[in-house]
Symmetry: C2
Amino acid sequence: MAMPEKLELTELTTLKRLPERGRFEREVIDAIIDSALICHLGFVVDDQPYVIPTICARVSDTLYVHGSAASRMLRSIGDGRRVCATMTHIDGLVVARSAFHHSMNYRSVVVLGSARLVEEDDEKTLALDAVVDHILPGRPSEVRAHTRNELAATKVLAMPITEASAKLRVGGPVDDEDDLGAPVWAGTIALRVVAGAAVAAGDLRPGIAVPASVRAALSR
Amino acid sequence: MAMPEKLELTELTTLKRLPERGRFEREVIDAIIDSALICHLGFVVDDQPYVIPTICARVSDTLYVHGSAASRMLRSIGDGRRVCATMTHIDGLVVARSAFHHSMNYRSVVVLGSARLVEEDDEKTLALDAVVDHILPGRPSEVRAHTRNELAATKVLAMPITEASAKLRVGGPVDDEDDLGAPVWAGTIALRVVAGAAVAAGDLRPGIAVPASVRAALSR
C-alpha cells in the first residue's frame, strides 16, 4: 500500500501539546527514521509497558525491527497487539535565562500500529539486509549471504508506517520578556554523534583493508 | 527508602535473553541513568503503548521526569498506572564477518514502576533543579529561582528506582568459527556524542560571558 505524502491525523497521532512542533510530511518522517541508529520499541504485557532499544530499518512503508531483546519482545508482540516505535535525535541543548525555559533541540518520530512476525525467507532476508545497510550503508554486499540456519534463528517484526508523526524543536531559547535584560547568558550548544577510529577485531587476519562501508561511516 | 546496592531480580526485570549481558549493580544502573540526556518513557492509554522522549534526572532513589509531551503523558500516567523509563547510550557499531553477527555496543537501563505526580513545591523545585543540573551541571545556580507561576505551570512525575536493570554490550564482533578465515574485515567503530560551539541567542545582551556550566559542557 502506498502511503500518502502527508499522513492523515488520527485521534492517536494528533499532538495534544505544542502542536506547532508537529510535522506530518512523509519526507520529514522518513528522514528522521532513516538517520536513527535505533528505535525504542514499546509494547505491553499484562498491563506493564516495556520500552526496549532495538535496531530497526525502514523499507518503503514498512518499519522492520530486529532486536537484542528479541525473545520476550517477539513472543509478546508478534500477535498483532498495538506497539509504538519511537526514534529520537538530540540535536542540541537550549540554554535559557531561566531554568524554566531550558530545553533541547530534537527530532523525533512516533510510529503507532500493530506488528506482524515476518515468516517468509525472502522478506526476512530483505529486512535483515535493510537493517545492516541502515547502520552501515553498503555492508550487505561486503559479506556472505545469510545461511538458512541464520534465517531460521532470526526473528523480524514488520510494522506499517501509516500512523506516524514527527515532532521537532529547532532554534534558540525563548525567554520571558522580563528576563531579557538579565545579565545571564543564553544560547544553544549543538550536539552530534561522531565516529571514532575503526578498530580491527583481535582475531582479524592480517592484510585485510578497512572496507568502503566502514570508511564511509568514519567520515560521517 | 534506601535502595539495596544490588537490586533483587523480580519476575519482570529478569532478562529472558542473553542474561550474561544483564547487570543489576546499583552503581552501574546509576551511572547509565546519570549520563543519559533523556529517557524514553512508555505508558499505556486504552491498550495503546506510547513511547515519548523526555528529559529526566535521578535524585537518590527517585527518577524525575518532566517532558515536552507533558500534557498527554501526565494526564495519562499520574494516576499510578505502570510505566517504563528506558535510557540508552549507543557506544559503537560492531562490524562482523557475517551480516548475522553485526551488532552495537550499548548501555541501557530499564526502570519499571508506577509514577506519582509531584504536588509539593519544595519537591518540584528540587526535581526541576535536578533536571537542569543533569543536563548542564551547575546551571541552576547561574539563573534566578523558579517563580510561583512557573512551578504551578510545571508538572513533574516521580518514579522510584527500585525495579530496574541494566544491559550492556562491549567488545568486538563474535563471529562463527567458520567465518574467521574469510577475507572480510571485522572490528568496531566507537560512537560518541560531542558538543559543538556555544552559540549565543540572537537577543543576548552584549558583554555577557559564556558561563562555567556551558564551558564545562563544551569540553565534555
